[in-house]
């Protein structure tokens, strides 16, 4: 019985919060269910606390949940719930105690009549064995489903708790235990302990009655022979006999069947047999099963972890243990970027020049040119830039056309070069090449070019300005 009472409590309590590890898991699960049910809680402060607290993700989630549970009174509700659960256990224990005593009393009667041994045995063990069988069938067939008595206990403890905040506590416990398949062991522990208590109380009552009253034991039959009873009695008594309980010998059994037994020896033998059978087939199996359940429960409880892959938890990762955080601006943006102003060369001499800027190998170059227009080649590297600028500053052309590929981005370097070239010519036009077949020009990028060129005041077109180059007008 002490095993049961402390089953929920006896793991080490945290000295600060007074909560066991199981309680922490439980509250965490309850907070998760609550958030799943009613939407996310306001958790800024809780998250901050959890982040400061550190540890791995599970620890942070638990910290956050405890903080929220404390704030919203769920910790108190949990304590109430546990109190309720304890009260419910107490009530069940009392019930078990009384019904156990009642069993023994019903089995033996008031001593006015002699006791029919097999009736007595049936009323002592019959229900127990029937329910044990039911439990075993449920255990093996139904799997994880909670059985009647367990459900009754949960229901009772909810009634006793009488706290709206506890609404998610019971489901949370079930979900939590379900994950490690612990429900059946805990509830099995409860069931077997209660039966153990009931049978124990029956045993005590039995001993008291046998000690203080005189009972005669008989067996009766209408259609069966005496041998059947002799065999049955001895078969049942064989195992208790190993434990040192007496078994009535054949003569005694026959005598008990015939008439009112008078021998004290026979009474004592029958009483010993009855107690032995109750111990061996009632109390011992329940004790062993209770111990098994207790062992499995403790083992499982140690393994109890949060399932971090649940959506309710994995969504918290970002807030509690972000794998990435922004560090903010380290080096602020300037107020303005440098601008380039092309101003036409006043005394551009004669001549027309066409030059290509950073064209790739897919663009055929140079295009067919009238004889009066000279091709200045392609500008790409620093050397080619410098060469052209050198040449232009010496012989500034009247008209300069620069072919640009609008698939490149209009970066500052290119714009600065355009401006510098324009400053070395009488008039400058930009020819934004059309896409070569099979490729497309990004409209957004084209509009970037337009914007940049408009800002610099350079005229631009998407057709070759050959006429203009050749004649100075369109």
């Amino acid at each position: 019985m002490p095993g049961l009472c402390c089953a929920l409590d006896c793991s080490t309590e945290d000295p600060v919060t007074g909560l066991t590890e199981l309680d922490t898991h439980w509250l965490t699960e309850a907070v998760r269910l609550r958030e799943e049910h009613a939407g996310p809680l306001e958790d800024q402060e809780a998250n901050r606390h959890a982040r400061q607290h550190g540890g791995d993700l599970a620890a942070r989630i638990e910290h956050r949940a405890l903080w929220l549970a404390e704030r919203d009174g769920m910790v108190l509700a949990l304590q109430h719930w546990k109190q309720g659960a304890r009260l419910a256990i107490l009530a069940l224990l009392l019930l078990a105690l009384l019904s156990g005593a009642g069993l023994a009393f019903a089995a033996l009667g008031d001593g006015q009549h002699s006791v029919n041994v097999f009736w007595a045995l049936g009323s002592l063990l019959g229900l127990n064995l029937l329910l044990l069988l039911g439990w075993a069938i449920g255990f093996f067939l139904a799997g994880e489903r909670d059985n009647g008595l367990g459900r009754l206990w949960l229901w009772l403890s909810e009634r006793f708790a009488r706290d709206a905040k506890a609404a998610h506590l019971a489901p949370a416990l079930l979900v939590l235990l379900q994950r490690q398949r612990l429900n059946r062991w805990l509830l099995g522990l409860l069931v077997h302990s209660l039966w153990l208590l009931a049978l124990g109380s029956a045993l005590v009552m039995l001993l008291t009655l046998l000690a203080t009253r005189r009972y005669g034991f008989v067996w009766e039959t209408t259609i069966l022979g005496a041998d059947t009873f002799i065999g049955l009695t001895q078969a049942l008594g064989a195992f208790p006999a190993l434990l040192g309980f007496s078994v009535p010998d054949e003569a005694m059994i026959r005598a008990s069947g015939d008439s009112l037994p008078a021998l004290d020896l026979a009474r004592q033998a029958w009483a010993g047999w009855l107690i032995g059978v109750l111990l061996a087939y009632g109390i011992l199996p329940r004790l062993l099963l209770a111990l098994l359940c207790l062992w499995r429960w403790r083992q499982g409880r140690a393994r109890l972890l949060l399932d971090l892959s649940l959506p309710g938890y994995s969504q918290l990762r970002g807030a509690l243990m972000p794998s990435s955080e922004r560090l903010g601006v380290q080096d602020a943006a300037p107020d303005a970027l440098p601008q380039f102003q092309p101003s036409a060369h006043e005394n551009g001499s004669s001549g027309a020049l066409l030059v290509g800027l950073e064209l790739d190998d897919q663009t055929p170059w140079p295009p067919a040119l009238p004889t009066s227009v000279k091709d200045a080649g392609l500008l790409d590297s620093r050397a080619s830039r410098n060469r052209l600028l050198e040449q232009l500053s010496r012989f500034p052309p009247a008209r300069l056309a620069i072919a640009c590929d609008p698939r490149r981005s209009p970066d500052r370097g290119s714009l600065a070069l355009l401006a510098e070239l324009a400053r070395n010519a009488g008039a400058t036009r930009i020819w934004l090449l059309q896409a070569v077949p099979g490729q497309v020009v990004d409209a957004a990028r084209l509009s970037d070019w337009h914007q940049a060129l408009d800002q610099m005041g350079l005229p631009h077109a998407d057709t070759a300005p050959m006429n203009w180059l050749e004649h100075g007008h369109d």
Binding site: R145, S314, G318, A333
Partner: protein, 454 residues
């Protein structure tokens, strides 16, 4: 705790430096991304941590735009007869006045790279290898820090990867990584960090931790996503409405059921978006499913189902268009079998009680409305596609998710998973039904089974 590794993300303007940062940090709101050049004009950092321990700091820098002129200028900084090495020359440049004027942006980049352990040089692989890029690399090399070229936009059909590889090799940069920040390859981050570890031997343990953590998180996200989808399917499969057998009431109930299922699906979509670190507004703005393209089509429209190749039971076609109102005369029999199976499986009392009330409803002439198998398959397909798309989507992506035609035969036709069949017999499992008990142990059991199957 050791200092986190610092990386400067550098490159020409408009090559996707901020996009790369968004994808690596899984942060859709980092910085500003646009087609315009010089969108980023400041240096902004982000930190990657594992188990709360910062391991990597990434710095987004302005684009280099004027490298040719800068290199020219740097070379002229050397006084006659003087030989300066790269860092010394840069030091002189950074102290001069041009570092605050014409080359202010370039100076920011160089300062940040100098303060970092290494640089990621982002390349728009669609660009030809121009002289200015070579000059950029030369300027950057002056910082004396290892550079790892990252080829962005390699998913584009116009990329010029071979030319770039060749050009980089000529410059002595043999290690490089392909990483499309919009459609990052599954193992893209791992490769990037592994290549970095080759350049920075000391940082290998930290980078390995980062790789492991990201793999673990990817798996965890997938698991969570499956959980969300399983919840949706279970909710829809278990959903059941009892309706008066008259046309007006039926039509109304059908409409209500449609609406509820669609809203439930939207919730799942939003949860998946949150899980994968995408914005909820993206969906509302019409960027993401359900509102545009195929997603916007009516869930219960038989055409949509056909389009996706989901076989519609011919007998239920009319009712199925609504989500299968099952005539109770027929439904009574089939559902009876299902309920019986459920009753055998467990919870006998509850099921019996349930079944009793439904029999009573039948006697009163009520019909029951549930969600059709085809609709369930469609939901499963759509959500799985969405999850797959999110899994492979970079956080820099700005267009909407395109969905391929579903190919998973198991969902298209044939039997639904057993868990859904069971759910049919348990209306209390569906959060769409009143009096739902979603935490029932049995439901959790089936949920886990369904997650396994997805």
């Amino acid at each position: 705790m050791t200092e986190p590794l610092k990386l400067a993300v550098v490159g020409h303007t408009n090559v996707g430096k901020t996009s790369l940062l968004r994808t690596l940090t899984r942060d859709v709101g980092f910085g500003e991304v646009s087609h315009r050049p010089s969108t980023t004009r400041h240096v902004e950092g982000a930190r990657l941590s594992v188990d709360g321990e910062p391991l990597l700091e990434l710095y987004d820098t302005p684009g280099l735009e004027d490298a040719i002129a800068l290199l020219d200028y740097l070379e002229r900084l050397e006084r006659p007869g003087e030989r300066l090495d790269g860092p010394a020359r840069l030091e002189r440049f950074l102290q001069g006045s041009e570092a605050r004027q014409r080359f202010e942006q370039e100076a920011k980049v160089l300062r940040q790279l100098q303060a970092s352990n290494a640089g990621l040089y982002v390349i728009d692989a669609r660009e030809p290898v121009l002289a200015k890029y070579r000059d950029e690399l030369e300027v950057l090399a002056g910082c004396g820090k290892p550079l790892l070229p990252v080829l962005n936009f390699v998913a584009s059909s116009q990329h010029r990867e071979p030319q770039w590889r060749d050009a980089l090799a000529r410059l002595g940069l043999h290690a490089l990584v392909r990483f499309d920040s919009v459609a990052p390859p599954q193992d893209g981050e791992r490769r990037l960090y592994e290549s970095l570890a080759l350049l920075l031997e000391n940082a290998r343990p930290a980078l390995q931790r980062l790789i492991d953590d990201q793999q673990a998180q990817r798996l965890a996200r997938r698991q969570s996503g499956k959980h969300l989808i399983a919840e949706l399917l279970l909710d829809c499969a278990a959903c059941r409405r009892s309706v008066e057998a008259e046309p007006a009431a039926e039509a109304k109930a059908i409409e209500a059921l449609r609406r509820d299922v669609r809203q439930r699906e939207q919730r799942c979509v939003e949860a998946l978006l949150t899980l994968y670190g995408f914005r909820r507004e993206d969906a509302n703005a019409g960027d993401l499913p359900l509102l545009d393209g195929r997603w916007g089509e009516d869930l219960f429209n038989p055409e949509t189902l056909k389009l996706l190749g989901v076989r519609l039971g011919s007998g239920v076609a009319a009712g199925a268009a609504a989500g299968a109102g099952v005539d109770l005369l027929v439904g009574g029999i089939t559902l009876g079998a299902a309920a019986l199976a459920g009753a055998i499986a467990g919870g006998a009392l509850q099921t019996a009680r349930n079944y009793g009330s439904r029999l009573l409803g039948k006697l009163k002439g009520q019909r029951e409305l549930t969600v059709d198998d085809g609709v369930l398959r469609l939901l499963a397909l759509r959500q799985q596609q969405l999850m797959h798309a999110l899994d492979n989507r970079g956080h820099a992506a700005q267009d909407s998710i395109r969905l391929n035609a579903p190919h998973d035969q198991t969902w298209r036709q044939g039997k639904l998973p057993e868990a859904l069949g069971k759910a049919r017999a348990h209306p209390q499992w569906s959060s769409l039904n009143p009096g739902a008990r979603v935490n029932q142990a049995q439901r959790q059991e089936q949920l886990a089974a369904l997650v396994q199957e997805l």
